[in-house]
């Protein structure tokens, strides 16, 4: 919807697109390791851990959203610029870039490896990775707008696919697998569980999209909706997984959701459907990788004030492609993700924005920002701008007529 009401040259999109983007980014990990990881931390109480760190994420996001309220239409890099000038922006940008590239490379590697193990056992890794790389680069060349639109269509379908799997394995559910109720104990759930906050680290993309958003007021709502929906999906997946697999065995499975899908077995005809899972899995992966590459390039462009982002797409793709080959085996890659990435990603997602926002608030406190609440900010000059009143009024009207798109 955004594009229709939007400016001729902007990339703009509406609330649902943004929500879908965040959901896809967070929930991509469901297909990878997530249900197994929480089982590893919390044993039989993985779902409890999910609830716990989701609540934490909500709290942190609440703080960020409160702090954010004054910085309309600015992304975290602009605000870093306000807080620390050029240096601030570059430091913030490089940190973000590091996070995005790290995650991107690992995820590219893991998706590829998974695909290789699931269905293309004899193909070389590079060949399989090429498919993801092509999708990623193509998506990036076409731009953010097609990506989010595609995601807006595909996320409901992929979610339906996930729920389908979860429902179809219902005959294998055994509630006793959730016992003992506290699993590996308090430390497992609440101590180790804290670092699972990094599951929500794709929330950084939310801090990068405000300039693209049609309706500035929706920033907070998008955040909560995306967090809520993701938390629900994470909870459902971890619950379903631990309902089916009893505890020590649940630590073993490499691709939890795929393993669930393999169990589907209704009658003589309706079985062995897990290959269909490959379709949803791959499409979800491709669009997520497209998002990652786009934002890596975007952050770089913005950090160093480049005029075009297209020329650096291929170099960044090559960098990601090469980084993805760094871990010598899949076990290392998974360790890097579940151990290294999970321990630090949350700090960049949640703590860095808080610091930046606080600094910016301190520095800009007497400044003109407060003078124009909801008005056009003076520093956003290079950003596309439209009348907030008119646009948001339009947006609201259409939203309400649209009837619960969120």
């Amino acid at each position: 919807m955004g594009a229709i009401t939007g400016m001729a040259s902007d990339i703009t999109f509406g609330g649902w697109e943004a929500v879908a983007l965040i959901i896809n980014a967070i929930c991509a990990r469901i297909f990878l390791n997530f249900p197994r990881e929480v089982a590893e931390d919390a044993g039989t109480a993985g779902w409890l851990e999910t609830v716990y760190f989701s609540i934490l994420a909500f709290l942190l996001f609440y703080i960020i959203a409160r702090l954010y309220a004054r910085f309309n239409r600015k992304d975290i890099l602009d605000i870093a610029g306000l807080a620390g000038g050029e240096t601030g922006r570059i430091i913030g940008g490089l940190l973000l870039l590091g996070l995005i590239l790290f995650a991107g490379a690992l995820i590219l590697r893991e998706y590829t490896e998974n695909m290789k193990i699931i269905s293309l056992t004899d193909s070389p890794l590079g060949f399989v990775m090429m498919f993801f790389a092509v999708a990623m680069v193509a998506a990036c060349f076409l731009g953010l707008e097609p990506i989010v639109r595609f995601i807006a269509v595909s996320v409901p379908i992929i979610t339906a696919g996930l729920l389908f799997i979860v429902l179809m394995v219902a005959p294998y559910y055994d509630p006793t697998h959730l016992l003992p109720a506290l699993g590996n104990g308090f430390y497992g759930i609440f101590g180790k569980g804290f670092f699972k906050l990094s599951t929500y680290s794709p929330l950084v993309y939310l801090f990068l999209i405000p300039p693209f958003l049609k309706d500035q007021k929706s920033f907070r709502r998008i955040g909560y909706t995306a967090l809520g929906a993701s938390a629900l999906l994470l909870l459902i997946s971890s619950l379903a997984y631990s309902l089916v697999y009893s505890y020590p065995t649940s630590l073993e499975n490499f691709l939890p959701v795929f393993q669930l899908a393999r169990l589907i077995n209704y009658g003589r005809f309706f079985q062995r459907l897990e290959s269909v899972f490959v379709l949803t899995f791959a499409i979800s992966a491709m669009q997520y990788l497209g998002v990652i590459l786009f934002f890596a390039v975007h952050v770089f462009k913005k950090t160093f004030r480049l005029e075009y982002h297209r020329p650096i797409i291929l170099p960044f793709a090559v960098i990601m492609f090469s980084l993805a080959f760094v871990p010598s085996n899949l076990m290392t890659a998974i360790d890097l993700e579940t151990k290294t990435y999970m321990t630090f990603a949350w700090s960049i997602t949640f703590i860095l924005p808080i610091i930046i926002l606080l600094l910016a608030r301190l520095r800009a406190a007497p400044g003109p920002l407060g003078a124009h609440p909801g008005g056009s900010p003076p520093t956003g000059g290079h950003l596309p701008e439209s009348s907030p009143q008119g646009a948001s009024a339009t947006y609201r009207r259409r939203r309400s007529k649209g009837g619960g798109a969120l």
Binding site: T44, F127, G183, G185, S246
Partner: protein
């Protein structure tokens, strides 16, 4: 535009250069329908594989081709055996003499010989299977009395062209017989690792019986058993020399005591009083399943008959529906057959008193009357409780006997009471420290069975038979 074309060309080129690594034509593969594992003579393992032979199954070639073998008559499967150190290596070795690459994704059943199961090495092979992408997690696990090879060789279904269909239907038959169970690789494996439940597998065997000369198969109702048809070979005795003794090998003398009915004090065995391989019957397919194999960890510790399988299903809440024979409470010597179905999950509670598990099981089943041989009017609402009472007592006795064997004889918590006991603990560590599986043997049971007869079948009221009275009722 030129750019786009260039990128396209590059992509096509890439694909071309890379080739289709994984593409395998359907007809380049040989589909394994069943795998059997025996102890090898020259090596660790003797692997038997039943392969689908497509020509026979497909009805021979396309439309007008004359060359095809005339529809369906030919062999539908072929059996190969390889002696190999591991299951996976046997695939490699088999491909030395098979033209097609072996593909396991359509395997329906994995059969382990009793020897192998009892030696406890089954774990080694299961770990390979669960890691493999090709083996289905839903593949049926079977323990075969005697040799697995012999069992697979005996599966030559005549009703189904396709052995795969035979397996699928046979191993889901527990839903309407209650005499075997569901044991799939994934469940078995998880139970094997679990600290709250022990695995079980379907018991299979090769039938050795030949019908007694006098009694033709047809109406082998209740009376026919008197002919002493409970003849059966001791599966595990003849197991080693399986090959020559297939398809009704050396005839052995009828031994009625082969049925487990004797030990339960029944004059004549019920349908559940057999284990696979000892069912008195004839038929083209010599292989059969009934009963279950009980494991402790990965080691098989015993086998139980079909009735135990029913009890196992009832206690676990997996019982669907089946005919079940009960002794007539009023007219001795006749039977009442009920169509029993389990409508709700059993209530299972575990308490730990004095460090010993106290287990409560409440089972409620519905039943429809199928047969009342005596013609006694149980349909009358006043008489009905008598029948219900009798059925409850018999079922309860069976279940108590069954649970007693799991604690006393096997020390194996196959019904998964441990899973419920976990609820008594707060964290995994506490639970682990309790060592449930070691304490299960001390468990005491409190079993309650409730039978509710809902429908009488097509007859609402039985009238006694009139006769001249010249001969007494039997």
């Amino acid at each position: 535009m030129r750019r786009i074309v260039a990128v396209m060309l590059l992509l096509v080129l890439c694909c071309g250069l890379a080739g289709c690594y994984d593409a395998k034509e359907v007809d380049d593969l040989a589909y394994v329908l069943a795998v059997g594992l025996d102890k090898g003579q020259t090596n660790e393992l003797k692997v038997t594989m039943q392969l689908a032979v497509p020509n026979a199954l497909g009805g021979g070639g396309g439309g007008g081709v004359s060359g095809g073998s005339g529809g369906g008559g030919g062999k539908s499967s072929s059996i190969i055996t390889v002696e190999a150190p591991t299951l996976t290596s046997s695939l490699n070795m088999a491909n030395n003499f098979l033209s097609r690459r072996l593909e396991l994704s359509h395997a329906e059943v994995a059969v382990f010989s009793e020897d192998l199961a009892k030696s406890g090495t089954i774990e080694e092979y299961l770990r390979g299977m669960i890691r493999s992408r090709e083996f289905r997690p839903t593949i049926n696990l079977v323990v075969c009395k005697g040799s697995a090879e012999e069992y697979l060789k005996s599966i030559k279904p005549t009703l189904d062209l396709d052995p795969a269909k035979y397996y699928e239907l046979t191993f889901s038959a527990y839903r309407y017989t209650g005499l075997s169970i569901r044991s799939q690789l994934e469940e078995f494996y998880a139970d094997m690792e679990s600290s709250g439940v022990q695995p079980v597998a379907v018991l299979a065997g090769v039938n050795k019986s030949k019908p007694p000369k006098g009694a033709q198969s047809g109406g082998s109702g209740k009376g026919d058993q008197s002919g002493g048809s409970g003849d059966s070979a001791q599966g595990d005795q003849s197991g080693g020399s399986g090959k020559e003794s297939q398809a009704g090998g050396p005839q052995q003398e009828a031994k009625p005591e082969e049925s487990t009915g004797q030990s339960k004090g029944r004059p004549q065995p019920f349908e559940g009083d057999y284990e696979a391989g000892s069912i008195p019957r004839t038929g083209d397919v010599k292989g059969e399943i009934e009963g279950l194999a009980v494991f402790d960890g990965a080691r098989m510790v015993g086998e139980m008959d079909g009735e135990a399988a029913t009890d196992y299903l009832l206690v676990n809440g997996d019982f669907h529906t089946a005919y079940k024979t009960f002794a007539d409470p009023e007219v001795t010597g006749t039977y009442v057959v009920l169509d029993v179905s389990q409508k709700s999950k059993p209530v299972r509670r575990v308490k730990i008193v004095d460090d010993k598990p106290q287990i409560t099981v409440q089972i409620a089943v519905d039943a429809d009357i199928q047969t009342i041989q005596s013609g006694y009017n149980y349909e009358d609402t006043k008489q009905l409780p008598i029948l219900e009472q009798a059925a409850e007592t018999q079922l309860k006795d069976e279940i108590v006997r069954f649970l007693g064997r799991t604690t006393g004889e096997f020390h194996s918590d196959i019904c998964g009471f441990g899973d419920h006991a976990r609820g008594l603990f707060l964290t995994w560590k506490d639970w682990d420290d309790y060592h449930w599986l070691q304490r299960y043997k001390d468990a005491t049971f409190d079993v309650g069975v409730k039978v509710r007869i809902r429908r009488p079948g097509m007859i609402l009221r039985s009238e006694p038979m009139e006769s001249s009275g010249g001969a007494s009722r039997r």
